[in-house]
């Protein structure tokens, strides 16, 4: 397929040629390639990327011309960009077989628009527009000619409202769109607008009456928000089918039937919850056979229970090429031959499952499109276009579900011939054929290009198993053969989390641990100082209260792990008079405080150290510094483990990043506030608290003060609090939180334009555009003096505009 493209267009075209109103070319391939070369070589028109599909006849070209001004090398173009479809000399538009399939990427078109219009759109806005457009631009075959923009005074046809809006907005910036004042503020997707005045209806009628059927039928096919392939039967077998099969795509997996001579492409059955319709476009005097089956077992060949077709619900579109309607569905074996009148095939019986086929027995050059979708009776329910993006439907054959259908389909790419930026040869690029969601309802787009997918979340919403789908990589590698930069991507280690301590108590025979209510504490006090108790316990302890090992208030979240309420046992003496308590059943218990996500804000290095710092406040422990790079863009989970026997607590911090959960921090403290039972206890408690404060003041933090087993480095050290453990912790904030201190970015609006952004790519300068500063360059192949070579190097090191 590779074909060397001559450069006559670029070399020979003069501004007089460009000023000419209309050109016609008979060979799309050459035309697009040459146009591409022109635009890619013209400084004012930075880039163009035409995608040419060999699956169709190559009789049409996409004509791009400036209306006014010149495009001579070195001279700015001041005209209005015009992109139109020109009728070929032999009037091939009248045949659908000549449908345009040359698609230029709108994201490459847009910079041409800016420049060709002479717009003073600064780089920031341009980038903004580009980014916006790219978001909504899909390299999908079915919409190959959807982005037809003709602002030259005829019609403006585009199914993507936002693209139209952008171009209008761009033109408005220069006042070049004054004559377009009649345009409405918003253009609904799929609407057709006629320049120079007129209502939508007028425009619509104008298009209907003036556009050739090939264009119209495709516009129609694009408008209802579903897409499919438009193929030439004569080429489908040789090109498209083999193209698919070579890439592992089985036609039978494709939900849109491809009608072709002697081949039957089944349309997978749908789990019906509503009516199913089958739309056949461009039917003329050909013979179709529609087959329907009540189950999803697609027969091999033309058999099965067919639809019975009636004319009762036929609707014919105004252009005479598209018909719609419903037919009733019966379980008979009738084969109905569609002759002049095509139908929408629907089911009035709403069977549970339905498989439909379409077969064309006539081999000619016409293009047929057969699509199936779920729809309401009124056919006004718009679904996201694309194969089987249908609520309630189960696409695929018997036993196939949406969850396994989608990945199997989306993972299979097709290849297309595109024009190489470097060599102007045709290169093979990989695309995934997928429908494009019109901006109706959920405008989240699917972007599949070069085998990658943007919009995994969107696919997930559709019930697609995305585990095997590669996330779209926004960094475009300019040279697939020489990926650069080489970024080592070490796999994070698995969770190194140690096991939690055994909560069972092996010392149950030595002492008892109870949790007491307020009333029980009062009863215990009464009992402790009763004569009976003292006389009994004095046989065991020098001090009766020595039988109380510890008494404190323990703070926690939720409930303690306690067992039965029972009488307290002090030494060998059982408490009486309500001296009871809930026996603590586990020594260690955990409190899961959940997770918080710390998102990036700037989306650049300013979100990370040393620009941004992160701390965490942990109740009963204090403020603890965290490493910003660990926390940023991660889910931070906090779990406390508390020792009920001492109140000691350990706060474990788990960071989940890139799908890997790791325990990265471990801080300790104490959640118990001691309750003194004697004067000696009280004195010891006061001394311990005071010593903790002294340690803080003297700059020699004790373990209790810091409460942290790991204190990471920080550019500066500011202590946000003193000791918040134990007594002070009970008086402090009881809720943990993360403090992120971000810098205020102070970047100039056009900073990248003047100074660039960090790159560290190795490539050729010709692949780049805009401000570029190199670190090193190999200036081979330049026929110049050494003085000049040195000057070139110095200029490149200092920064140039490519």
């Amino acid at each position: 397929m590779a074909a060397q493209v001559t450069n006559w267009l670029y070399d020979d075209m003069t501004k007089a040629h460009w000023a000419n109103a209309t050109w016609s070319y008979s060979k799309t391939e050459d035309t697009l390639a040459k146009l591409f070369k022109y635009f890619s070589s013209t400084p004012q028109l930075e880039a163009a990327n035409f995608i040419y599909d060999h699956a169709i006849d190559n009789n049409y070209g996409l004509i791009i011309r400036p209306i006014t001004g010149t495009l001579e090398d070195g001279v700015s173009c001041t005209g209005v960009f015009d992109c139109t479809i020109s009728e070929t000399q032999d009037n091939k538009w009248k045949g659908e077989e000549n449908a345009i399939y040359g698609q230029f990427m709108i994201n490459d078109l847009v910079p041409m628009v800016w420049r060709a219009c002479g717009l003073q759109v600064d780089e920031e806005h341009q980038l903004y527009y580009l980014g916006k457009v790219q978001t909504h631009l899909i390299a999908t075959r079915s919409r190959a000619n959807a982005h037809i923009i003709n602002s030259a005074g005829t019609v403006c046809c585009c199914v993507n409202k936002e693209i139209i809006d952008l171009i209008i907005e761009a033109m408005d910036l220069e006042g070049m769109f004054d004559t377009h004042s009649s345009l409405p503020d918003t253009i609904p997707a799929g609407d057709i607008v006629m320049d120079g005045g007129g209502s939508f209806t007028q425009c619509f009628n104008y298009c209907v009456s003036n556009l050739q059927s090939g264009v119209w039928s495709q516009l129609v096919s694009e408008n209802p928000s579903y897409s499919g392939f438009i193929v030439s039967p004569s080429r489908a077998l040789s090109d498209l089918a083999s193209l698919f099969s070579n890439n592992g795509v089985s036609i039978s997996d494709y939900a849109y039937g491809l009608v072709s001579a002697s081949y039957t492409y089944p349309i997978p059955g749908f789990q019906l919850t509503k009516y199913v319709s089958l739309t056949i476009y461009n039917i003329r005097d050909d013979t179709f056979t529609l087959y329907g089956d009540v189950n999803t077992n697609i027969p091999t060949g033309a058999h099965g229970k067919a639809f019975s077709l009636t004319n009762s619900n036929i609707r014919q579109r105004t252009d005479g090429n598209c018909y719609s309607g419903y037919i009733s569905y019966t379980y008979d074996t009738i084969t109905h031959n569609i002759t002049a009148a095509p139908y929408w095939v629907g089911s009035t019986n709403t069977p549970e499952e339905l498989a439909m086929y379409a077969q064309n027995y006539k081999d000619d050059d016409d293009i047929y499109r057969v699509s199936a979708r779920m729809c309401n009776w009124n056919v006004d329910e718009i679904y996201p276009e694309g194969i089987s993006v249908l609520e309630g439907a189960t696409p695929g054959r018997s036993g196939t579900t949406s969850s396994d259908f989608w990945p199997s389909w989306t993972s299979r790419a097709v290849t297309l011939q595109t024009v190489s930026v470097d060599t102007y040869d045709f290169d093979t690029e990989t695309f995934i054929p997928i429908g494009y969601c019109n901006p109706v309802g959920d405008t989240t787009q699917i972007d599949m290009q070069l085998g990658k997918i943007r919009g995994r979340e969107y696919l997930q919403k559709l019930g697609v198993n995305v585990s095997n789908i590669e996330e779209y990589d926004p960094i475009i590698d300019p040279d697939p053969d020489d990926p650069d930069p080489i970024i080592p991507d070490p796999e994070p280690d698995p969770d190194p989390t140690p096991d939690d301590p055994d909560p069972s108590d092996a010392s149950a025979k030595l002492y008892s641990v109870h949790a007491l209510s307020a009333a029980e504490v009062g009863a215990l006090g009464t009992f402790l100082f009763s004569a009976d108790f003292i006389s009994a316990i004095q046989n065991m302890f020098a001090e009766p209260l020595d039988c109380i090992i510890a008494c404190y208030t323990l703070y926690y979240h939720g409930t303690l792990p306690v067992g039965a309420n029972e009488r307290l046992k002090l030494g060998s003496v059982l408490g009486t008079g309500g001296v009871t308590g809930d026996r603590v059943s586990e020594r260690f218990f955990t409190i899961d405080f959940g997770s918080v996500k710390v998102p990036e804000f700037y989306g650049n290095v300013e979100d990370y150290a040393p620009y941004t710092t992160v701390e965490i406040y942990l109740p009963y422990i204090g403020f603890c510094p965290l490493e910003t790079n660990d926390i940023m863009n991660a889910s931070v989970k906090l779990i406390y483990t508390i020792d009920t026997y001492s109140g000691a607590c350990v706060a474990k911090i788990y960071c989940t990043k890139k799908g890997v959960k790791q325990e990265l921090y471990n801080f300790n403290g104490n959640t118990a506030v001691q309750i003194p039972l004697t004067g000696r206890d009280f004195t010891q408690g006061v001394v311990s608290v005071i010593s903790a404060g002294i340690g803080l003041l003297s700059g020699e933090p004790t373990a209790m003060v810091l409460g942290a087993s790991r204190i990471l480095g920080s550019p500066y050290s500011i202590r946000r609090s003193g000791n918040v453990g134990a007594n002070m912790g009970a008086m402090s904030n009881q809720t943990p939180y993360i403090i992120v201190k971000r810098p205020k970015a102070y970047n100039a609006a056009n900073y990248p334009y003047f100074y660039g952004q960090p790159s560290w790519w190795s490539t050729t300068l010709g692949r780049l555009s805009g401000y570029t500063r190199v670190k090193e360059a190999h200036l081979d192949g330049i026929v110049c003096t050494e003085e000049e070579r040195e000057e070139i190097l110095q200029l490149l090191l200092a920064g140039v505009m490519v």
């Binding site: 400084p43 070195g74 001279v75 926004p474 960094i475 149950a508 025979k509 030595l510 002492y511 008892s512 641990v513 949790a515 215990l524 404190y552 323990l554 703070y555 926690y556 979240h557 409930t559 303690l560 307290l568 046992k569 002090l570 409190i591 899961d592 405080f593 290095v605 300013e606 939180y737 993360i738 403090i739 810098p743 102070y746 990248p752 334009y753 952004q757 960090p758 790159s759 560290w760 790519w761 050729t764 300068l765 010709g766 780049l768 500063r773 190199v774 670190k775 090193e776 190999h778 200036l779 081979d780 110049c784 003096t785 000049e788 070139i792 490149l796 920064g799 140039v800 505009m801 490519v802």
Partner: protein, 147 residues
Amino acid sequence: MLIKIGRTTSEKNRLTKNFTQVAELNATIKEGTSIVNPVFIIHAQANPGTLNYVKAPDWNRNYHILDITALPGERLALKCHVDVLTSFASSIKACQVLVDKQQKDSVSSKYIDDGSYVTECDDVIQCYTYSKSFNNSSTIVITAGGQ
């Protein structure tokens, strides 16, 4: 030598510059000047104030006009310096380079910290609070003697 004189409004560091031609004429090279820093002597045919750029196709070079001096006989001396970027633009574009800075997002990374990001000294503090808190307490009594 045939040269094209005119003007450009492109930045000096732009690889490919726009060029508005004012005249195409024969020029003589002042003796002793080089191909890098030539002085073209021409007969004045245009307002010198509109000139800042020269194309010399025979030398495959373009030149910035550094100075214009009037000479006897209505002649002008155009003191020039070669514009190496535009003269060898196509060759330069084919050269392999290690890119340090680039304008486009697609070939740059905002996560490389080369010290070029500028921030104000003031900070913005954001807190992300966990949904749970210590909301309960119990009095724990540990006594000698087990069950």
